[in-house]
């Protein structure tokens, strides 16, 4: 397993007007489970093909353990891949599929290795069968086994490998994959548009948007300290609330109310906060001012997600001028009408031109 480094990697398809990938820099540590999160068209697949060598690097370098592999052929890079749908040699048994990628290894070692990996993935019982007779999940497990079985693999790529799995199997499959990753110490890059999959699988996640990596961080950091509006929006369900605000006098203001302190140049900004960092309360109409960081809103409705101890918990939706605000909170007693929105001042983030203003007070 190798450490994977991208240095200023760019790619443009012949005849295309713009770069599909523009100046990527990324270090994936040895044995790390890394996820690439992005919507379709963000350049995920192109990056995968560059890593595996199926596309030639045009600009920038790819290093495996410090060695430049940009010009190395795919089969010499030691990269394996699991695809969206199970890709296996259909005329061979599962065991033969696994053995095929270890052609240059002595027979005995090879069969031991096949048995070991198959055991871990729970497909030992279907080793002698051909892929055609297996369920979709079994086939995908076999494809995963095929990617992991080869010794000396430097990098395992996973391209939305759970797309084909039924929802109730996804939890189990991801657990299996994750524990195997830890056990083998494999360097893995997992590509997906599903944030749950990315965040739950990976040690660190890179958010890819329009060919640029916006942020690479741990799941926690992505949630709490997104460096870009889009990361805030993309990560979390629902995504981050963003309000039009202004920075002046060392604080950020929305609708004439000061919400939090910030050291940044004066000017317009976006004020971001996650649904779980804010609360909406009912307001009796005659009360005007409540506190410095509280905004008057119109409660539009609630969506219960769960109930516990007689209380319903879920999302409250409110309107603030032109924008809509969603909070995640206790909903009991909340009705449509006038309300207060209070946001944890410690967690408020400000963005300008998309990027977060970092210098908090």
């Amino acid at each position: 397993m190798a450490e994977v480094v991208l240095e200023d990697l760019s790619f443009r398809y012949p005849g295309a007007a713009a770069d599909t990938l523009a100046g990527l820099n990324l270090t994936v540590m040895r044995g790390e489970a890394h996820a690439l999160l992005g919507s379709s068209g963000s350049g995920k697949t192109t990056l995968l093909n560059l890593l595996s060598g199926l596309l030639p690097a045009q600009h920038g370098r790819i290093l495996f353990d410090g060695q430049d592999v940009s010009q190395v052929a795919p089969w010499q890079r030691g990269v394996t891949q699991v695809f969206q749908f199970p890709v296996l040699y259909e005329a061979m048994s599962v065991a033969a599929n696994l053995a095929f990628v270890m052609r240059d290894i002595p027979d005995k070692q090879r069969s031991e290795r096949v048995a070991e990996i198959a055991g871990k993935l729970g497909i030992d019982s279907v080793l002698d069968r051909r892929p055609a007779g297996l369920t979709l999940v079994q086939k995908q497990l076999a494809a995963i086994a095929k990617a992991l079985v080869r010794p000396g693999v430097s990098l395992v790529l996973l391209d939305e490998p759970l797309t084909a799995a039924e929802p109730e199997h996804k939890w189990q499959l991801r657990q299996t994959l994750k524990s195997l990753q830890q056990e083998l110490g494999a360097t893995m890059i997992y590509v997906t548009h599903d944030q749950t999959e990315a965040l739950t699988f990976a040690d660190r996640v890179s958010v890819l948007h329009q060919g640029v990596i916006l942020q690479t961080a741990t799941p926690q950091a992505l949630v709490e300290k997104p460096v870009h509006e889009h990361v805030g929006y993309f990560v979390g369900t629902p995504g981050m609330n963003l309000l039009e605000g202004i920075i002046r006098e060392g604080g950020c203001w929305v609708d004439g109310i000061r919400l939090a302190a910030i050291h940044a140049a004066d000017g317009p900004c976006k004020v971001g906060f996650r649904p779980e960092w804010a609360r909406i309360e009912q307001r009796s109409n005659n009360v005007v001012d409540k506190a410095t960081n509280t905004l008057p809103v119109v409660i539009r409705g609630t969506r219960t997600l769960t109930t516990s101890r007689g209380q319903s918990l879920g999302l409250a939706v409110a309107r603030l001028g032109e924008s809509e605000v969603v909070t995640r909170q206790t909903l009991t007693g909340l009705e449509t009408g006038a309300g207060w929105l209070s946001i944890d001042p410690e967690r408020i983030l400000c963005f300008r031109d998309g990027w977060r203003l970092t210098d908090h007070a």
Partner: protein, 324 residues
Amino acid sequence: MLELNALVLKAGSPPFSHRFEAGQINVVLGRNHSGKTRLARVIAGLDAPESGEVLLGGKVVTGDPPGKRSVALVYQDFVNYPNWTVFENLASPQKAQRVSAALIRERVLEIAGQMQLTEFLDRYPDALSGGQQQRLAIGRALAKSADVLVMDEPLVNLDYKLREALQVELRGLLREFGVSVVYTTSDPRDAFALGDTLLLLADHRLLQAGPPLSLYESPGSPAAADLMSDPCANRWMVGGDLRLIRPEHLSLDPAHVDDVAFPVQVLGRETNGSETFVHCQADVAEANTQWVAKLSGLVDLAPGSREIFYASATAIMKFDAHAD
């Protein structure tokens, strides 16, 4: 409004009856192959049921062809007429009803506006993005002005974030049109997000029906409890009885003196940003599977550590051991 009377979806399945609520979003929740699509097709008239009746506005329509029923359908895979422009697609149902060109135009423009397709009216469907294609399909279904709109997992083939955005949009839109909706899905989140009422389907039969909240709080069977839970509910046995606790009802802090304590060993954790899923081995008598706890926010628990989860006694669901 739409009623099912002693309907049998598949040979050998028990018959069931159900009355869908008018002007509301009726979510049909079931796993893959539970008969959701079949039910949608039977309502639309594309398939004939094994036996039983479909009633629309009190009239039996079981044998009527789809075009004669006041039912529209949205498929999960963006079905549009590839050789017709967006405008022609939206005009299609009314054209079949021989509405005058001027009225059609008016209606198409109105729907295109609501579906945010106005600028694409001259394009062909394959020049649209996935989300737009599905919007077009929904728009065409709405253009039929049918009493019932059946949507068969309409968002399942979209990108995750797009799905989320369209879900919110859809709820407002369907409200606005005041149409009665039958919406099938396998995702319990859709049930809460969209559903006014809920119908749980398993194995081509009706498990339970009612408002989402009441089904969530008092499921009639372990299968019904699992359907409303993602991941599935945690199980253990007490004596001869089966007990279930939902992952989201486990917490690290006791809130009440009567809370039940569950000592566990943490196996691993996952998070999606807003919630943390803790996989653990529960030390409960006769617990035979791994458990999952769903905690809000980001919670850091090291694998291998021992923790105690608490749950309100009222949250524990009790069933006969052979209830499944």
